[in-house]
């Protein structure tokens, strides 16, 4: 049980600033996701919590205590990595017992058995206990790695892309298992990923990092529906949010050479804005104000994603799988005015947020 707090934490590796004055609040019992592309600093942040690296400046608190002088072992947090790091010649049971056999811990055999049994039930690996770990599938190995973290009953779980080596189906299954586990243990999870689907589907809160800086922190709903800037807008969501050039005059934004006009919800002195609209908020139909050519059709089974071309501008629209679509056909569409975002093209800041 622990809240974790970053106060203006900076970490440099040589001339490279991995984390730049990062401040974060992870509440007790929260599933907190650090999301960002490679090089965003998310793994560095995790390693600083674990005590595997020390910050150059700023403080990190766990459960209200500055942990600067605490060793990794004293911090009582558990790390789960992308690669499973299990002992290959040991059985699953031996791997799970291992962290409890440390000399600093004095557990009786009964206590060890009780914790290992509990963890194996939680992770549904009771049938694998006597198997050597090199005989396990990827998903089973990752469950055992998580089990090794669980038996310690740490104050917080730190997970570094634990699902990224698994195939798509298993990743999906483990996503809900992990989330369920976190709810059941009521534990604090800090989960690092570059996969926005994982972040959205599991996180209570998502912190989006880019180039060592925190860009936005919020619920999945907030970062999807109220992106603070163009980076978050295009990083979160698949397909990426459409970003379109608009010209402003008299509180109105005009797109596609004036074919579509949107009322600006905010006053802005800018003459040009970038209009953001998600593919599901582009409505294709005969009454739409804008004419386009179908540039490409992607079948996604449950729906289709159509790329529309207006002069040189491309944008994507999600349509029903039943809609008849053929490449190079003409269609009409419009943007849902309530769902449009307006960004400053220079700074990238969302003007309506």
């Amino acid at each position: 049980m622990a809240q974790i707090k970053f106060q203006s934490v900076t970490k440099k590796f040589g001339s490279n600033t991995a984390l730049d004055a990062l401040s974060l609040d992870v509440a007790d019992g929260e599933f907190f996701v650090l999301l960002g592309p490679t090089g965003a600093g998310k793994t560095t942040a995790l390693r600083l919590i674990a005590g595997l690296d020390t910050p150059d400046s700023g403080t990190i608190e766990i459960a209200g205590e500055d942990v600067h002088d605490r060793t990794a072992a004293e911090r009582d947090v558990a790390l789960v990595f992308q690669y499973y790091s299990l002992y290959p010649r040991y059985t699953v049971r031996q791997n799970l017992e291992f962290p409890l056999r440390s000399r600093t811990r004095n557990f009786t055999q009964a206590e060890i058995d009780q914790r290992v049994d509990q963890a194996s039930k939680t992770l549904r690996i009771t049938h694998l206990m006597d198997r050597k770990t090199d005989r396990l599938s990827g998903g089973e190995m990752q469950r055992v790695s998580i089990g090794r973290a669980i038996v310690r009953e740490p104050r917080a779980f730190l997970m570094d892309e634990p699902l990224s080596n698994l195939d798509a189906k298993l990743r999906e299954a483990l996503r809900s298992e992990l989330k369920e586990l976190q709810i059941r243990l009521k534990a604090t999870f800090v989960f690092v990923t570059h996969d926005q689907v994982e972040a959205m589907s599991m996180g209570d809160k998502v912190a989006v990092l880019n180039k060592g800086k925190l860009v936005q922190v919020g619920t999945p709903w907030e970062i999807y529906n109220r992106p603070r800037d163009l980076f978050v807008a295009s990083f979160v969501g698949s397909p990426s949010m459409n970003l379109l050039p608009g010209t402003v005059s008299g509180g109105e934004c005009s797109l596609f050479g004036g074919a579509q006009k949107l009322k600006m919800p905010v006053k802005s002195g800018a003459s040009h804005v970038t209009v953001g609209i998600r593919s599901e908020d582009v409505e294709v139909g005969p009454d739409g104000p804008v004419e386009a050519v179908i540039h490409d059709v992607e079948n996604h089974g449950v729906e289709k994603i159509v790329t529309l071309r207006v002069n040189d501008v491309l944008l994507k629209a999600t349509v029903s799988s039943k809609m008849q679509t053929s490449v190079d056909a003409n269609v009409r569409f419009g943007l849902d005015p309530d769902k449009a975002h307006f960004f400053d093209p220079a700074s990238g800041v969302n003007l309506s947020a």
Binding site: S176, S201, P220, Y224, V236, H295, N299, G301, L314, K322
Partner: protein, 374 residues
Amino acid sequence: MAEIILKDIEKFFGSAYVIRKLNLTIRHREFVVLLGPSGCGKTTTLRAIAGLEEIDRGDILIDGKPVQGLEAGDRDIAFVFQLFALYPHLTAYENIAFPLRATRESKDNIDKKVRAVARSLQIEHLLDKRPSSLAGGDMQRVAIGRALVRRPKAMLMDEPMGALDAKLREEMRTELKRLHLENEATTVYVTHDQVEAMSMADRIAIMNDGILQQVGTPDEVYHHPANLFVAQFVGSPVINIAPAAIKTKGVALEVGFGDDAAGFDFPQELAAQIKASPAGSGDLTLGIRPEGVLLSHSGGEGFVPSKVHLIEPLGAYDIVDLRFGNTLLRARTKSGFAGKAGENVWARLDPSQTHFFNSKSGDSLHVRLGNGAN
């Protein structure tokens, strides 16, 4: 421009039987995706078409002519790999021009061809750069440019986007598809990513363990999977699967989903269709995609009460997990439909979107109920 016919192809690596009697016709100008998990034989098949791998039995015909006697270089086929395989000491321009060096074409002609390809790939501004100073997506564009510049009859691509990040992959999908339409080259594309396959292919050939499982359009493999493997490999989130327990209930049928059988109503005609199907004897498995699981806040005809177990918000929509006993049933709902875990909801299975499979063989019974859209 080529028709590629694979006839009873077999391939062994030592004792491993990696391609098992594969039959597939790839039509002139078609975009066919070979889809399957690692080790399914898809790359071996592609390499066999290219002439990089010999087959043990069967025939490969390109435009009606057997090609086993032909070297890879004489098949007029271009290959694009996952790793970019560019010459590091040559510029992008020189890399693209490389395949033309032996064609005895005039410098002007070569220049025209290189620039035309670069224009269609939107890399004209990068032609003077060396690969090391290019981003991953641009490197792959150069590699594709090098393949296209000869105007080959067929393009073979082996996970060409595997090394790119998610956003770039999304963009490149559209680009590649457009390029295919403009170039008219028959394309065979290998991937393990079902989203890529669904969104790009004219037809998908799904393989597992060296065996071709199904060939069909994206709609066919998604809405009418031939077996359990295809049903589970295609589609995200994964199709819900559970043993089906079928009971008569008055004039209708009740189908239990999973061990602790929550009974869902099904039309009586299901019984006759099961009986008529060659795969219909023995234990059956029910499959339904998350969009076929209909949720309601208030219940009603045919709805079974349940509780929200977990909500996965994905922005444009939510995935709501329900539990029936030990069986997980996932539904796709509008964003924000379910408020929180523990909430009461009612669920119904749309019969027109429900699949039945023989549990033992995995084969679909091809049951079609109601006048569902598909």
